[in-house]
Amino acid sequence: MSTDPRADGVPLAAGYQRDHEVHPPLDYPGYRSTALRHPKRPLQLLPHMLTEVTGPVLGEGRIGETDNDLTRQHEDEPQGQRIIVHGQVRDSDGRPVPNTLIEIWQANAGGRYRHAVDNWPSPLDPNFSGVGRTLTDAQGRYRFVTIRPGAYPWGNHDNAWRPAHIHFSLFGQAFTQRLVTQMYFPGDPLFFQDPMWNSIPDEKARQRLVARFDYANTAPEWALAFEWDIVLRGRESTVFESEVDDG
């Protein structure tokens, strides 16, 4: 068998649905840092071919024993409200996304990140790094134990505060499905003035970033629970056929 793909007629897997309307624009004046960090030329349409419908398969080797429990990564327990954050990763056709890497990072209970350039006057917690990772199971489900993060001030506008949030990074199963986002908590009073929140054009899409308080999965005398499902792009229904062309 030839290893020269030019000699093969290669059927390409279906591409992924485009979902631009869901995402914030790259140019959003309310978030000042976008000003010099968005392309001004129109984006070029990239058809989804092999490089785009494949992606890294990252497995157990990347996950340590306490990576999904941010309250057990140090000698003692961190300060703050212990919470369980769990949910399912699906695509927009409702199919679970199994065995995919999820990475999270967050501020501590007082709203401070363990990062060199975060120096607002709220103390670091020696027992909290604020970094976790896990793989979804066969049903696309994930679960973290962590501390409810605090809100924190920033310099975007007068008296600006970020609503409490946890950063989530997901790979899905294809380069095209890659997503980095933030999970918020229900009823946060800071949404109205937050440009990250307001940058999402559709109110219903914003609400999809808010976890649901999940009393049923609360661990009695231990931890509150929040449920947050994440939906990645589903597949197009059309399969393109690359034709044999050996000249």
Binding site: P5, A35, R41, Q44, T51, W105, V180
Partner: protein, 187 residues
């Protein structure tokens, strides 16, 4: 659930460096594996200033143009020491580097072959969603001329997608905005 109800993107923010870098991130080809080279570059903003709070990710085929993934219809095939995926945070001067192998040509649509290329995601504070670009290779003039993705890019801008040769591999700078703005793709 109806179609399109996907989860919106949000920025990685200023503190991505606590959550995303991996010690072996830059090694799309394992450190000890032979035959690799570096792709190094600097990420610039619209004022020409380096972006120190950014992250680059790369994804590419192996030297035979194949992917170690179930959706490669020719069958997933692993190349020794090769992950195909690289991740590197930018440093204080906006610099990044990925150690990898040169990908082979990759089948495209309608029988057309794509020139060797690497897909790139760019994340940064100030970006509400990732931006996506591609790296092509300077010694592949003929394949680049026939590449359907490059062909769709206006000619004067194509050069922004072609790496430059360097002593230990290639240089690929990324200019998010302004003069010589890199071409970015709607993915």
């Amino acid at each position: 659930m109806s179609k399109g109800e996907t989860t919106p993107s949000q920025t990685v923010g200023p503190y991505l460096h606590i959550g995303l870098p991996w010690p072996d991130g830059p090694y799309a080809l394992a450190e000890e594996a032979e035959g690799g080279f570096w792709i190094r570059g600097t990420l610039y903003d619209g004022a020409g200033a380096p972006i120190p709070d950014g992250l680059i990710e790369t994804w590419q085929a192996d030297p035979e143009g194949r992917f170690d993934h179930p959706d490669d219809p020719r069958g997933a095939q692993a190349w020794p020491g090769f992950r195909g995926f690289g991740r590197c945070e930018t440093d204080a001067e906006g610099r990044f580097g990925i150690r990898t192998l040169k990908p082979g040509p990759v089948p495209g649509l309608g029988g057309a072959m794509q020139a060797p290329h690497i897909d790139v995601s760019v994340f940064a504070r100030g970006m509400l969603n990732r931006t996506v670009t591609r790296i092509y290779f300077p010694e592949e003039a003929e394949a680049n001329a026939a590449d359907p993705v490059l062909a769709a890019v206006p000619e004067p801008e194509r050069a922004t997608l072609i790496a430059r040769p360097a002593e230990d591999g290639y240089v690929f700078d990324i200019r998010v905005q302004g003069k010589d703005e890199t071409v970015f793709f709607d993915i």
